[in-house]
């Protein structure tokens, strides 16, 4: 299926996939001598679930870090809504509506679930220090409005019962869900998920998949996720990028990828030369 960057189409399960929102153009990223990403290009379409897969050390996470502005590529550029994105600080990227979760959970252990989720709203709240100090008018107003937003997500991800529990006390699976909530509550235009199912048991994986689909379905959120568990990815995503040793070795719908020789080799671990 050849599509123009502005075309949109409807998936068989009735979701509308829009035009390209973000495009990676010939990204190359080096750490000193090591080349983490070598001249990779791909795009992300509005409302789709886009997966980046590959064996460990393929450079998936580095790619996600480039998208979220944490790493600055030496070559290539990131186009956001068609315009090249100037080099900006991670928090500026976040303010553009790009939220993410982390491979090894990065929650704020000292806070409750609710507070963690609330932090996701910080770009939506702008009352000044003084206003907050006296806790009147705008400050209080914002706090309440955003609390409600947060609660809706908490409700959506079914974590009401742990609302006021310090995250430090939570089991792994729940932490992952809280982190998703924190990212989701910021109403992101693109949601980046870094190995959302790493280290989960089967049920937890099923739950997480369900939530990811629900999120995409209910809020129409564009999702880009990294996963090395092939199976999960194939069921979840609309399109898949496959990376290996920092190079892109495949890009297309799950079915395309399944019959892509290079991919199969990479996963069967054919010797690289």
């Amino acid at each position: 299926m050849m599509l123009d960057s502005t075309d949109s189409y409807v998936t068989e399960d009735g979701r509308t996939i829009g035009g390209v929102v973000m495009e990676m153009k010939n990204i190359t990223l080096r750490f000193g001598g090591v080349v983490a990403i070598k001249d990779i290009s791909f795009d992300i379409r509005e409302g789709e679930i886009r997966a980046i897969i590959g064996p460990n050390g393929a450079g998936k996470s580095s790619m996600l870090n480039v998208i979220s502005g944490f790493y600055v590529p030496q070559d290539g550029e990131v186009l956001f809504h068609g315009k090249p994105r100037p080099h900006m600080k991670p928090y500026e990227v976040a303010q553009q509506g790009i939220a993410r979760t982390f491979q090894n959970i990065a929650l704020f252990e000292g806070m409750t679930v609710l507070d963690n989720v609330m932090t996701g709203r910080l770009n939506k709240m702008n009352s000044g220090l003084l206003a907050q100090a006296i806790w009147r008018g705008k400050a209080e107003q914002e706090e309440i409005e955003n609390r409600e937003k947060a609660e809706k997500i908490i409700d959506f991800l079914e974590i009401q019962h742990i609302r006021k529990t310090p995250v430090a006390r939570l089991p792994y699976g729940l932490k992952k869900r809280v982190e998703l909530a924190r990212a989701l509550v910021s109403e992101p235009s693109i949601l980046l998920l870094d190995e959302p199912m790493a280290g989960m048991n089967v049920e937890e994986k099923e739950d997480m998949s369900r939530f990811i689909l629900d999120v995409n379905d209910e809020f129409g959120t564009t999702i880009a996720l990294i996963e090395h568990d092939m199976g999960v990815v194939m069921d979840l995503s609309d399109r898949v990028v496959v990376m290996d040793y920092g190079k892109k070795i495949g890009d297309g719908t799950p079915s395309d990828i399944r019959n892509n020789q290079a991919v199969i080799d990479a996963y069967l671990g054919v010797a690289h030369d």
Partner: protein
């Protein structure tokens, strides 16, 4: 009996009550629901607006007077509004059990010919859609929670809020029609139709008129002097008459506030937060709560444990007396006060009972020590006796005359009579109109003078005038030697042991009684842990010799106490077995209200029953079970059958002569 044909100052329908409340306590809380982390609040006037909006919306959907509209879901304000909205447009609400299976629903929906269904969420919507093919009259469905339903075909599917918006939009043009229909409602128009789960056969649709509901609510509210200040927690199935009376009838009559929990699993915390002043729960709820209390206290430091035991003992001694306003020595009072500070108060608080002014339990007999436990804490827990056909109240216990072994005196406006076979009959303004589309069973239960057969056997105690129920009338039978056989009576005695969850006693027409026992997993499991007995499954635990030991002891003590009653001494249990599976409504062994279906069980486990009588020491059996997700499966087990010591009956007979 006094016939108030026109209600009290013209309040002849629930919608009328609603308008009165909106006028009288307009900005007093009417509904609360724990949602999004706080208790969302609706005043009476807000509730009235919501209900009007929905009613108008229903009009736009073309609801006609006399239509039946099924309402399916857990307790939520919206669904209560739905009931009243449905009444307002002259239709009849039919609440259904939300945990009912698709085919159970199919039957009811078909039987009442519901044109509309108001469903809570995707789960319920799916169930109905599965069966709607077979429903000739079914037309449209309204759903509350849109989650997951966005992609459904909305040809005849509407979102609750959208319907309300439509209603609000059409306010000006449809308001007259709505008012007309509301006016049209009178004391004898149908208020609600409730399906009795019925311990046998298919459910029957009990038609209750406004008179039934409002009169009963009025009487019962006055009986306990309920006020608009009460708070109740609505957590029992909306399809159950009790919930309808408490959360709708009485709530609308007195104008008190109905609080809905966030979800089933947060029920306990929500209960604690709200701290209801008026509370109903079936015995097993109190039972399990007591069990958990005891289990939790097990881990307390010895010193704290000792204090707890000490004061609980004292409470047992004087608590009930103090509650009944009897005089106790000043020292005891003081000690009780201290205990209240250190134990009772905190305990009630953690259980959420601090504010309970009146608590009721009914539906089953409650164990004396369970009952006394709560009363000794100073919780005014009482018993009532009732059924759907009576709009609940038949008898109830007045303050100060509360005992675990009676169900109290006839409720105001209720007449009682005992037939010669011991069956209890009643007559009141709460008496139901009819069984929908079922003239003959209506005739069976309700005679021309309006006397209704309860189907329970009992007698009125001399002196106190309290009613005592022995058993289901049809279960009361004779044994081969002619001795009276009252299984429930024995089963209850057994079930008073925390270890025993359910018991089914057989013996009608037989020479001696035998029993199935269901162990209580929480209690026995905990006991097993403490005696480090390893077990992999319910089945394994149930079969464990030491468990059988304990159960046997229980059975034998029960036998002793049964033997003391000359009339029923024949009902002692000679042989018993512990079932390898928990009796379950999904397998049809219990009703949705958790009552045992004796007959069905008897047939289903025929092999086991035979084994009980043919003296075999153990029996291999295979049983079909239904899992939560509806899949069916087989479990097999070899059950050990035990003989229990009995007190020689003849001896006691001689003593009697």
């Amino acid at each position: 009996m006094t016939q108030t044909s026109e209600g009290v100052n013209g309040l002849t329908s629930v919608p009328a009550l609603l308008q009165r409340n909106a006028a009288e306590f307009g900005d007093k809380a009417a509904y609360r629901e724990k949602e999004l982390g706080i208790w969302q609040n609706w005043t009476w006037s807000e509730a009235a607006d919501e209900i009007d909006a929905l009613a108008l919306g229903l009009l736009t959907l073309g609801v006609a007077e006399g239509d039946f509209i099924a309402i399916i879901g857990r307790n939520r304000p919206y669904l209560y509004w739905a009931m009243v909205a449905v009444q307002s447009v002259g239709a009849v609400p039919v609440p259904l059990y939300s945990d009912a299976s698709a085919d159970e629903m199919a039957y009811v929906l078909d039987h009442c010919g519901a044109r509309f269904v108001i469903a809570a969420d995707q789960e319920q919507v799916d169930k109905v859609t599965d069966v709607q093919g077979g429903l000739s009259q079914f037309e449209q469905m309204i759903y509350l929670d849109p989650r997951g339903l966005r992609k459904y075909d909305h040809a005849n599917l509407h979102q609750f809020s959208k319907v309300q918006d439509a209603g609000r939009a059409a306010l000006s043009e449809l308001m007259p029609e709505l008012n007309r229909r509301r006016e049209a409602l009178n004391y004898d128009s149908t208020c609600v139709m409730l399906y009795t789960s019925g311990t046998t056969g298919k459910p029957k649709g009990v038609v209750l008129s406004n008179r039934n509901i409002i009169e009963t609510s009025r009487h019962s509210s006055e009986f306990d002097s309920l006020s608009a200040g009460e708070d109740i927690l609505a957590y029992l199935p909306m399809a159950w008459v009790g919930d309808f009376i408490f959360s709708l009838g009485q709530a609308y009559w007195t104008g008190f506030c109905v609080n809905c929990p966030e979800s089933v699993d947060t029920m306990m915390t929500d209960l604690r937060e709200i701290g209801p002043t008026y509370y109903f729960a079936p015995p097993r709820v109190f039972e399990t709560q007591l069990t958990t209390v005891m289990i939790r206290m097990e881990d307390a430091s010895p010193m704290k444990k000792r204090m707890f035991d000490y004061f609980m003992a004292h409470a047992k001694k004087v608590g009930p007396a103090i509650l009944d306003g009897e005089t106790v020595s000043g020292l005891d009072k003081l000690k009780y006060k201290l205990g209240d500070l250190l134990v009772y108060g905190p305990l009630k608080n953690t259980l959420g009972f601090s504010r309970v002014r009146i608590g009721y339990t009914a539906g089953e007999a409650i164990g004396p020590e369970i009952f006394d436990f709560y009363r000794s804490l100073g919780i005014n827990l009482k018993q009532l006796y009732g059924q759907t056909e009576a709009s609940v109240f038949i008898t109830q216990q007045p303050d100060g005359q509360v005992r675990s072994d009676t169900v109290g005196v006839p409720s105001p406006g209720v007449e009682l009579k005992i037939a010669e076979n011991g069956e209890v009959f009643y007559r009141s303004e709460g008496t139901f109109v009819e069984y929908y589309k079922n003239a003959e069973s209506t005739a069976d239960t309700k005679d021309p003078e309006g006397w209704v057969a309860t189907g329970d056997a009992g007698f009125i105690e001399e002196g106190t005038g309290h009613l005592r129920i022995i058993d289901r009338a049809k279960d009361v039978a004779n044994m081969s030697d002619g001795a009276l056989f009252a299984p429930k009576y024995v089963e209850n005695k057994l079930k008073f042991y925390p270890n025993i969850l359910e018991a089914v006693v057989f013996g009608a027409g037989k020479d001696r009684c035998t029993a199935f026992i269901n162990i209580d997993l929480t209690a026995v499991g905990n006991w097993a842990e403490r005696n480090n007995i390893a077990y992999a499954s319910y089945q394994e635990l149930a079969g464990h010799p030491r468990v059988l030991e304990t159960i046997q002891e229980h059975v034998e003590t029960v036998n002793k106490s049964v033997a003391e009653d000359p009339m029923l001494s024949g009902c002692q249990i000679h042989r018993f077995l512990v079932l390898h599976k928990q009796l379950d409504a999904d397998d049809g062994e219990l009703t949705r209200t958790q009552k045992v279906r004796r007959k069905i069980i008897g047939e289903k486990f025929e092999d086991l029953v035979n084994a009980l009588y043919n003296g075999s020491p153990e029996i291999y059996t295979e049983t079909e079970v239904t899992y939560e997700d509806g899949r069916k499966g087989e479990i097999s087990a070899t059950l050990e059958i035990r003989d229990a010591a009995v007190v020689p009956v003849t001896a006691s007979k001689i003593a009697a002569e």
